[in-house]
Symmetry: C2
Amino acid sequence: MQRILSTALPAHIGETVRLAGWVHRRRSLKSVAFLILRDAAGLAQVVVSEQAARARLEELPEETTVRVVGTVTANPSAPGGVEVTSPVIEALGDPAEPPPFDLYRPDLNVSLPVLLDHAPVALRHPKLAAVHRVGAAAVAGFRTALEEMSFVEIHTPKIVGTATESGANVFELDYFGRPAYLAQSPQLYKQIMVGVFERVYEVGPVFRAEPSDTARHLASYTSLDAEMGFVDDHRDVVAACHATVGGMLAAIRDLAGPSLDLLGVTMPALPREPLVVHFSDVLEMIGTATGQDVSAEPDLAPAHERWLGEWALREHGSDFVFVEGYPTAHRAFYTHPDPARPGYSRAIDLIFRGLELVSGGQRLHRYGDYVRALTARGESDLSAYAGYLDAMRHGMPPHGGFAFGLERFLARLLDVPNIRQVTLFPRDLHRLSP
Amino acid sequence: MQRILSTALPAHIGETVRLAGWVHRRRSLKSVAFLILRDAAGLAQVVVSEQAARARLEELPEETTVRVVGTVTANPSAPGGVEVTSPVIEALGDPAEPPPFDLYRPDLNVSLPVLLDHAPVALRHPKLAAVHRVGAAAVAGFRTALEEMSFVEIHTPKIVGTATESGANVFELDYFGRPAYLAQSPQLYKQIMVGVFERVYEVGPVFRAEPSDTARHLASYTSLDAEMGFVDDHRDVVAACHATVGGMLAAIRDLAGPSLDLLGVTMPALPREPLVVHFSDVLEMIGTATGQDVSAEPDLAPAHERWLGEWALREHGSDFVFVEGYPTAHRAFYTHPDPARPGYSRAIDLIFRGLELVSGGQRLHRYGDYVRALTARGESDLSAYAGYLDAMRHGMPPHGGFAFGLERFLARLLDVPNIRQVTLFPRDLHRLSP
């Protein structure tokens, strides 16, 4: 007999079926006992009335894996309107040791350290599993949206010979007796690959030796990266990013509906056309609204991003707002300046519900500009950038791209305060296991 | 005017269009010059007859990025039956420095070290780019096949606290002042995640400090991993792996047809039902065929795998053959023994054209079995496996899975002798850049 999933039960009323899963919960009443079985699809109620079967159920603690063969019976008062009766229950392994918390309660009310220490079992809680189903749907949507725009998937090195993007916050490793580093981002490689495919994307781990212990930072996270050639300016990047975020939200709705319901998620509002404001206009609006003089600020402080998020929702009904034109001096060396406004750049950020989610923009593409930009930032030895500069020297189109962390997106979408709550097995200053 | 790609030209005969791309090649004849433009889709022939335009083209070396506005004109003798006439050509950057090899020749006849040293530019050669388009299609097919079977995508840690899978060949890094290691595979984590989603998959980098300098080994490669719960035995894993490989081949045909044509690839034959032979039967067949006594061999030597590959093609018309039942002692500690045949296991390999591609099988799932297996292999401190053993202790179903390297699959598919030829930016004993 082929196994069916719990959600398929209503289609089999009156039939004998085979289920398999975990003992989610047992409830023993006077005349009957209930086994709530959990499988990948959901929960099934199994009614155990025969004495010998009740005795056997006593010996199968929560989380034991079992196979159940029984009759599907309609019962309007059962969850989902069906239950399994006259079951034969067979353990698929040894009786499980019960977890240190009750996975069957609606919420896993344990502290974050306890949750993370016991992640291999805690993640089985339906609400925690739902978080990662939403994550998987988000990544699927990221890929689909970019594939539809002819982006090609790439896999770039995670071990690099030089710590190019920033000297600090980089993990060093012993590479066959010489030093090497974990890549902080695929930035330089994805730009190189624009020379090959014009449009590329990558989903992969990035590594930051973050010495700060905050709710927003991890030592490793899943970076969603895209880069595209032959752009007119950063507005082409804004359009691609906007379409990508739209595709992610659509995929989450399509693929993770039950998880959204379980988590009670309010899906964010994304307008049809991207909402874009210039950095200097943001500062002016904030100055006018708050009476503070912020006109000399080189970047948006978290409070400014929050203000802007509220403004975007209030004035434009949008949970997303792009900021363009950040001052060049405060962005990475490869940032393309705005030729029309000295000091300002073609860098963009996407603010999602008042928090910076995406960073990107148009990049420099002329070899000479790179040499000047790197030299101006005090890089004396350009050989560290050899392969990257080769790509520029041998002809690169105007290009740009964007990147963001999957976990940060999930935390904001699900309104979770600590990024560790939406990361499978987080790595930080203190945590290296499980 | 919206840019169009070179492959769209035949649909625009008589119209003025805008193209953009790289100067792939210039050919100057007496009365006319040709610019072959390369973009993401292919090549376009641009006819330059006006004197001033010819002079300007002289100043745009190969690989310079340009924009071309001109008229699409039918010409049966032009490649694709169309060319662009009366062009206005505008450089999008500075004149490129010509690469150290001719990207416009049908094949890039350079040594492997030269190719790898200059990968940022060499990868632009249409045949090298085609390799990685096939790779992207293969990965897309891997995901689609598994999603259709309800596998959920996961992202597991690449930095781990203990070198559990094998003490040797592991990269050590400085993790905030204490030692940590790069994950050699997502094996333990994907098994843990079977407890959450039943079926999971991951596409991501794995790291092996391979001290050997061979054509088959890399220090890092892209691992395609899947793991599934509630299996009856390893044959369920064989079926899922077979379906996945079938999905990959279909996706390659569907998504990378032009690249296959360019590379002249003979697509492999995959039978409808998986071809499976037992390890002991393989040895017996080889003994009979060769007259050698191989009955005591603990594993298949490369020569045996080649023999088996030829046998599968000759006798069954298949480029793929699964081997089941490898001796338990020579497989990883988590390997499930075959209860019916002491000494043999439920481990599988998939041999693709005479080379081991996939490893997998059914795993142990009882906590007690893990403690015994690890202890028997001399592991004195099981705390290194704490999270993994927690998952087993708290109830795991019978499960199994498989894994293989994207690059090894590509090398075999494309009949390329060295795996570095199908890796974007390979990492090995000697190479850490570009």
